[in-house]
């Protein structure tokens, strides 16, 4: 589609730009033809209007001779096109003048018009070249805008994919260690092996299903957490205990899926697993007025490794996702004191059907 004709706003601007051009053309013609204002306006204004539209054809010339081509080809194409269109314009002007001559009783109008051939022709060529330049500019502009838009789209897509990957990621450590536990149980405790298989299948299925959603009620996320914990309890045995208190008032509050489960996973992996005797993970979900507060606490080895890069990345992910959903109204606090690590999430409780 033509970049100017397809867009009303652009067409309006284009025609507006032609107004001063038309005015200048009128003045030039008036001097040359030494005609009165009404006479010259009668000729110049329709001609300018006509040429405004004729010059839109410069687009096809620009398409036929893109800037990337050789200068010689560019120059020949453009000069041929401008000479041709200017000649056509002059001829059409002649037709106009001849057709209005008998009507307006202005003798010699066409003769005077013809004397202006050099000025009109030169004007026509210059204006056409100007129009061509404007079209080249528009084409380049549109193209760069498309490129920019595409790269933005790509960025958005990449970001979405990244978030999706982060959401759907199942820790390979967890997966392979669980499989190893099943392998160990098959001989010593076949029933236990079977139930661990079922628990693992349930967990994987649920996390795949939830990962595909945008938001889920807290209750569903907590069910996933429970299914995760029952597997980890088989792996860690007596070393892992869990205390939880969940306010049923929070059940319906919406959260991004796989928000709490990865935090519980971190608490076990970086908190409980490095402790010889293990410890207790505390999960507390309650209401604070309009907000929901999720508190997760785990002991840490005071002599353990200082930096836990994985935990930091997981928390950053949580922070990003909450910020995206609750723009500025979500708080993530992390504190570490006296061998305890604590994560506190606080964000507005929005229930299904309340989303603006």
């Amino acid at each position: 589609m033509h970049p100017i004709l397809e867009n009303r706003q652009r067409l309006a601007i284009y025609l507006m730009a032609w107004m001063p051009i038309g005015a200048i053309f009128t003045v030039i013609l008036k001097r040359g033809m030494s005609a009165s204002w009404p006479e010259v306006i009668l000729v110049a204004v329709p001609m300018a209007f006509l040429y405004a539209f004729m010059c839109l054809s410069a687009w096809y010339v620009c398409l036929a001779a893109p800037m990337t081509q050789s200068v010689l080809r560019l120059v020949t194409t453009l000069s041929a096109a401008s000479l041709l269109s200017s000649g056509a314009w002059f001829a059409l002007g002649e037709v106009l003048v001849l057709s209005i001559e008998p009507w307006v009783d202005l003798p010699g109008l066409s003769d005077r018009y013809e004397t202006q051939f050099p000025a009109i022709f030169l004007n026509g060529v210059m204006l056409f070249l100007l129009a061509a330049a404007a079209h080249y500019l528009l084409i380049t502009l549109d193209r760069s805008r498309i490129v920019e838009k595409r790269s933005l789209e790509l960025q958005v897509l990449a970001r979405e994919a990244e978030l999706k990957a982060l959401r759907a990621q199942i820790d390979p450590h967890f997966l392979f260690n669980s499989l190893n536990s099943i392998s160990a149980l098959t001989v010593s405790d076949p029933q236990g092996a079977r139930s661990m298989c079922l628990l693992l299948a349930d967990f994987l299925r649920t996390s795949l299903a939830l990962g595909a959603k945008q938001q889920i009620p807290v209750a569903e996320e907590l069910r996933l957490v429970e299914s995760f914990l029952s597997i980890e309890k088989i792996r860690y045995g007596k070393r892992l205990s869990v205390t939880r208190s969940v306010d049923p008032e929070c059940d319906a509050c919406l959260v991004p899926p796989l928000l709490i489960q990865p935090l519980v996973e971190n608490a076990i992996r970086h908190g409980i697993a490095p402790l010889v005797e293990g410890g207790a993970v505390r999960l507390d979900v309650h209401r604070e007025g309009q907000a929901i507060e999720i508190l997760l606490e785990n002991p840490v080895d005071p002599f353990g490794h200082a930096a836990q890069a994985g935990a930091g990345l997981g928390l950053e992910n949580v922070r990003l996702r909450l910020a995206k959903l609750f723009s500025g109204q979500a708080h993530v606090n992390v504190s570490r004191s006296e061998g305890q690590f604590q994560v506190r999430l606080r964000f507005p409780c929005i229930k299904l059907g309340e989303i603006q």
Partner: protein, 247 residues
């Protein structure tokens, strides 16, 4: 044939029970200890001098690499891991055998056979280089482990004032105490975080945070005065390294 004496170290009860179940019918080996964490593993290896250590990487207190670092190169080891990409790459590079959880009884037997051949040939693994390669790129250890008989000292890197070379040992100075470890100063230099530690002399590596001032000592040499008043020699190349760091 003399039975192979084996120590198993894994923090998960089920994982250890799986290995002993796999091995219960083998006559040519003996499980001499089962350890639930890195400390126990170091103690068991020191006390029992087993032929082979089956060592899980992820363990409380000390991880598998730290255990290997502490027990030294006289022990043969087969690592066990669920999923550690960098570690697995390092094992391949250093030709160290490893088992990926979950593994089969056949795979375990194969690893044991290979270990037995290696023991017969008298080969063993170099723990320091292996541990360095197994770490994710760009990270440095944040603590130093020093064995003192049956005890293990865990020294956070930030607390080290300076390290001094002493014959076959290096001496770590931490909060006024001295800890000796059999290591070369060059190994220490590569293991330490180069943003914090700088080699100021053939025999000294300094924690830059401890530096109080530099004094001209002789025509070509300087002295580093630490915050606690300790005076350390600074060589010419050490001086330019120091200057590059302080900027």
């Amino acid at each position: 044939m003399k039975p192979l004496r084996i120590v198993i170290a894994d923090d998960e009860d089920l994982a250890r029970s799986l290995v002993s179940e796999y091995l219960k019918d083998s006559l040519d080996l003996e499980i001499v200890a089962e350890c639930r964490n890195g400390f126990e593993a170091v103690k068991a290896v020191t006390d029992l001098k087993p032929d082979l250590l089956l060592l899980d990487i992820q363990m409380p207190r000390l991880d598998g690499f730290e255990v290997l670092d502490l027990v030294g190169r006289e022990t043969n080891v087969i690592f066990i891991t669920a999923y550690d990409q960098y570690a697995i790459r390092a094992f391949d590079v250093h030709a160290v055998d490893y088992l990926l959880k979950p593994f089969s009884a056949e795979r375990l037997t194969e690893a044991l056979d290979r270990a037995r051949k290696k023991i017969d040939r008298g080969e063993s693994t170099a723990p320091a280089a292996l541990a360095a390669d197994a770490r994710p790129p760009g990270t440095k250890p944040d603590r130093i482990l020093i064995r003192d008989g049956g005890d293990v000292h865990v020294l956070p890197m930030v607390k080290v004032d300076y390290v001094e070379a002493q014959d076959d040992y290096v001496c770590y100075r931490v909060e006024g105490k001295r800890y000796l470890k059999q290591q070369t100063l060059a190994d220490v230099e590569t293991a330490l975080d180069s943003a914090r530690f700088v080699r100021i002399h053939r025999s000294y590596i300094l924690n830059i945070d401890r530096l109080a001032k530099l004094e001209l000592y002789a025509k070509d040499s300087h002295s580093a005065i630490l915050r606690d008043g300790t005076r350390l020699p600074v060589s010419r190349s050490g001086y330019s390294r120091l200057n590059a760091m302080i900027g």
